[in-house]
Amino acid sequence: MTRIDKRFAALKREGRAGLVAFVTAGDPDYETSLAILKGLPAAGADVVELGMPFSDPMADGPAIQASSQRALKAGQTMKKTLSMVREFRTEDDTTPIVLMGYYNPIYIYPVDRFIADAVDAGVDGLIVVDVPPEEDEELRPAATAAGLNVIRLATPTTDAKRLPAVLANTSGFVYYVSIAGITGTAAPDIAAVGAHVGRIKAHTSLPIAVGFGVKTEEQVRALANVAEGVVVGSALVSAIAESLDAGGKAMSGTKSKPLGLVERLSAALRHPAEAAAV
């Protein structure tokens, strides 16, 4: 069992959905980003998704594009991203970390060394958004063999014919993209998400985490009723962006603002008072 499997099993025992928190590694700089990363579990994140910044993040909306650019400008590299995970693991050996990003930096690393270094650093899973199931032979088998979960995305346009291909060889959890489109650009329609998640559950026993466009406590509570995990990303990196000074440098709120948001959203999952009243 990976840390991801263990964490979702524990959440099931607790009878609640988990909060999956996404931040981009190195945004706005290495030290601040590491401090935010280290603060996420205490703030209530059950799973951490750490973005590997890329120059051309095609699946991401303006908020995460900008965070990627800030991280790269501050000198973030793949080696530094892995070293952040290593530093995080000296204090926390239970919170799962999923690396999320695009294939080219992994391909150039190259793949076999990336997998070895990621496992060694304490990474638990990978989401590589521009590697479809049909093209994953040089990444997925080796990653799975090394003990990493390879997590795939299902979307509103993933139809019944394609769903088995997406779910085959997926492990850890399934990431359901709640809107057709890029990250953080629209609010999910909860009823439609529920129907889609139900359809996916008919094909898999894996936990399902729902993301893309989640910002508020109400959304988190509603999604917690239909899925095992709720992903929040663009809202956190936007909180980082809003805390920076005019020159893009970290200020006193750069760590506290995103962590405060994680605390609020996490509280909504742990004490779903309003949700119980529905």
Partner: protein, 303 residues
């Protein structure tokens, strides 16, 4: 027509120089489809005549402000639009790159260039050409010309990449001469990137070649040595642009001017009866502003 057959009611495309944008806008006007063209804001500024053409044809031109604000970024934003609107939108990619089956599809459509060349030269000269040459950004015009001749091994084929300020300067768009294999926009090919796999910004005076990658089939043709890849700098392209205009009365676009620059070295070494086909893939009227500002900058430097 493919869009209509697939039941799509909205067409999007990316464009660099605007040639593909104008072509897409023309067809959308003909078939009454709404058309959105993504174009880097740098390219919108330097290719005004084509922007105007697209607008007159009824297309909406969306300037892209992310990244280097050129073709690569226009492609990113078109892909972002596509994933959000795939239920009703057809993405008409303008080059032989992107996810499968686009490179093969665009190649087959563009091959009309090579098929017509074959027909016309057989009629005019009663034989096939000895060599072919074309400029390459993503490489659609070149692939269109080359493809129907690939199985004629006697024909030499040259592709000319944009060397910008020179390959050694790092400011160029020559993916084969100065890049290495990677994965971007759904295809594996030669790309300009740093040692960490981050895509680097291309540089070329011509908007149509200003792309940090090259179609994957060109990468293969390079590796199997069927096509010889050369490059030409901004300076060489502008010199060829001027020379061709003066000697032939043809004002070529800056893109094919890169091919013409290499013709100037290759042609004199060939026998008198050598038949060379140069693909002049665009007209230069769209580039007059770029050339004028290039020449005035050069003049002010005292060159």
């Amino acid at each position: 027509m493919l869009a209509l057959r697939m039941g799509k009611t909205r067409v999007i495309a990316e464009t660099g120089a605007g040639m593909h944008g104008v072509a897409t806008a023309t067809l959308c006007a003909k078939f009454g489809l709404p058309c959105i063209i993504y174009m880097g804001s740098v390219d919108v500024a330097r290719q005004k005549p084509n922007v105007l053409r697209m607008k007159i044809l009824g297309a909406e031109v969306r300037p892209v402000e992310s990244g280097s604000k050129t073709l690569k970024d226009a492609m990113n934003d078109a892909l972002r639009d596509w994933v959000a609107n795939v239920h009703d939108t057809f993405y008409c990619i303008g080059t032989v790159a992107g996810p499968h089956p686009y490179p093969a599809m665009v190649r087959d459509f563009q091959s009309v260039i090579g098929r017509e060349t074959r027909e016309q030269i057989l009629k005019a000269e009663s034989r096939l050409p000895d060599s072919l040459i074309a400029c390459i950004g993503g490489g659609s015009n070149a692939m269109g010309l080359f493809h129907p001749f690939l199985d004629d091994p006697a024909i030499e084929i040259y592709g000319v990449e944009a060397a910008g300020l020179g390959i050694d300067s790092g400011k160029h768009a020559a993916s084969i001469a100065g890049g290495k294999p990677g994965v971007l926009h759904g295809n594996r090919t030669y790309l300009l990137m740093d040692e960490d796999g981050q895509i680097e910004e291309a540089h070329s005076i011509s908007a149509g070649l200003d792309y940090p990658g090259i179609g994957p089939e060109h990468a293969w043709l390079n590796d199997v040595k069927r096509v010889k890849f050369l490059s030409a700098t901004d300076d060489e392209a502008v010199a060829a642009f001027q020379l061709c205009s003066k000697l032939e009365g043809i004002i070529p676009a800056l893109e094919p001017a890169h091919a013409l620059a290499r013709v100037l070295d290759i042609a004199p070494k060939k026998p008198k009866d050598h038949l060379m086909v140069v693909n002049v893939s665009g007209r230069g009227d769209k580039d007059l502003d770029s050339v004028a500002s290039y020449l005035s900058a050069r003049g002010s430097n005292g060159a």
